[in-house]
Amino acid sequence: MKMKAAILEVYTGFVSLLTGMRITLGQAFKPVITVPYPRRTLKMPARFRGHIQFVIDPETGKSRCTACKLCERACPSECISVDGAKLEGQKTKSVTDYKLNFTTCSLCGSCIEACPFDAIEFSKDYNVVALSRDEFNHMDLIQRLAARREASMQNQPPAAPPEPAAPTPAATPAATPQPEEPKVS
């Protein structure tokens, strides 16, 4: 009986090895699931938290911020400083200066929750890298808004249907959603 058990053990062990090899062979012929990073990037998931940015109001094409400073007060690390002024011919104040100290921001999202106008959101920008911390001490959200509007103007000329993504500069690859390409296999 012991002999039989030993032979059975060797046999089942060998079969399990073959099963393992069948699995790896099966995986080898499935498509590749990685992405050649600098050339192609994945779309960030909806809940991804980058630094905050202004929402572009689709009606006016500008920010909805009224400089109410609720976000400034909500921030636990005091990294937001907002300034506003009442421009002529407008009922509400509009923002003139919005600085984010990203070096102390913990991405908690209190500012976004506090905002009564839904004027700020998390960006999907993860390529935030610089040689010195001064780049992130005073991130100017208004300037960034202007840059984004310019970029979107270049990518999508007005009164034209949205076209499949033109190659975008490598600086913010994740900011522009790209159509799902067939995976390189």
Partner: protein
């Protein structure tokens, strides 16, 4: 064409041909290994250098060649420098007797098989020298492991080869291949009427070959997670590169031997498409199929523990190979004995 058979020309052709074959194989098997690992792990593998990474071996080679050769203080200089040469020489010599085609071999030696296995064992000595000369604990541990592993796996391998020799009756690799001519059912792998366990002996041979060439899952010699790089820890630049080339050259030798012994060498599996042109192609096809299987095995199984490795050899492989040896003897000689008695 007669000048091809002059002795010096033949030696030169052999040297150039074998060195080119081994070099190209070492370079591109590394690429195949990395590509295969990538595919099995669902990633593309190296794909930046050249089209789809085809120039990666060139880049690696230039990198290794341009590195400074460092000899750590306190090492045995002579042995340290000698080890890479000694590890490279045996596979090069072994390839002299491997018949790539009907007329494509460097030497037709009667004891070719013996030459392959005796030089195959020297390889261990070279690894041990390298590990010992390095004056590094990791390297010495690795050297000790290599020796006990190779001693353990030499036994079932040679038992399997003896089984095969009883079937073939010759150690001449050319004759062994010639005996297997005429369709794949004549290959030693399928000769179940001689020994019902012939496929099992092939599997044992293959496992022992993996262990002898220090390939995963038996890569105790350079268990990266335990021993840094094992016997090669102190080697850098091309010294390290030569050890790697030797590893792949050994795989080539092992797979060629397996092809010759079990899979009919340059014989066509179907009687058609044989001849001086297709013969080497069949040989290479079988050999590379085996090599890809070696790569496939490496990226499937994790490294065994050392006692598991020795248990496998002493408790499973050696008893089975002894049993097949007895079985083959019985199947071959019992009819004769019965004939004599009655």
């Amino acid at each position: 064409m007669s000048f091809l058979f002059i002795e010096p020309v033949r030696i030169l052709l052999y040297l150039v041909g074998i060195c080119a074959f081994v070099g190209a194989n070492a370079a591109y098997l590394v690429l195949a290994e990395r590509k295969g690992a990538g595919r099995i792990q669902r990633r593309p593998g190296p794909n930046e250098a050249g089209y789809a990474g085809w120039l990666q071996p060139v880049a690696d080679g230039i990198k290794l060649l341009s590195k400074q050769v460092m000899i750590p203080p306190g090492t045995d200089r002579l042995l340290f420098c000698l080890a890479p040469l000694m590890v490279m020489a045996p596979p090069l010599i072994c390839l002299t007797v491997i018949p790539f085609g009907e007329n494509l071999f460097a030497r037709n030696i009667n004891l070719g098989l013996l030459l392959v296995f005796s030089l195959g064992s020297i390889n261990v000595m070279a690894l041990m020298l390298g590990g010992w000369a390095s004056r590094n604990k990791y390297a010495v541990i690795s050297a000790a492991r290599v020796v006990s592993q190779n001693v353990a796996y030499e036994i079932p391998m040679l038992l399997v080869v003896i089984t095969l020799l009883m079937v073939t009756g010759t150690m001449n690799l050319n004759e062994i291949v010639q005996q297997q001519g005429g369709g794949f059912w004549h290959w030693n792998f399928f000769k179940v009427w001689v020994n019902p366990l012939m496929p099992v002996t092939f599997v044992i041979f293959f496992i022992c070959m993996l262990a002898e060439t220090n390939r995963a899952p038996f890569d105790m010699a350079e268990a990266e997670s335990e021993l840094v790089a094992g016997a090669f820890t102190e080697y850098g630049g091309m010294g390290f590169g030569v050890f790697f080339m030797a590893e792949y050259a050994n795989i080539v030798v092992g797979c060629s031997t397996a092809t010759v012994l079990f899979l009919g060498g340059w014989q066509s599996p179907f009687i058609i498409l044989s001849g001086p042109v297709f013969g080497p192609l069949w040989f290479l096809a079988k050999m590379y199929a085996l090599i890809l299987t070696v790569i496939w095995v490496r990226w499937t199984f994790p490294r065994t523990q050392f006692y598991g490795l020795l248990n496998l050899s002493w408790k499973i492989l050696i008893p089975i190979s002894l049993f097949t040896l007895l079985l083959t003897g019985a199947v071959m000689k019992l009819p004769l004995l019965l004939h004599h008695l009655f």
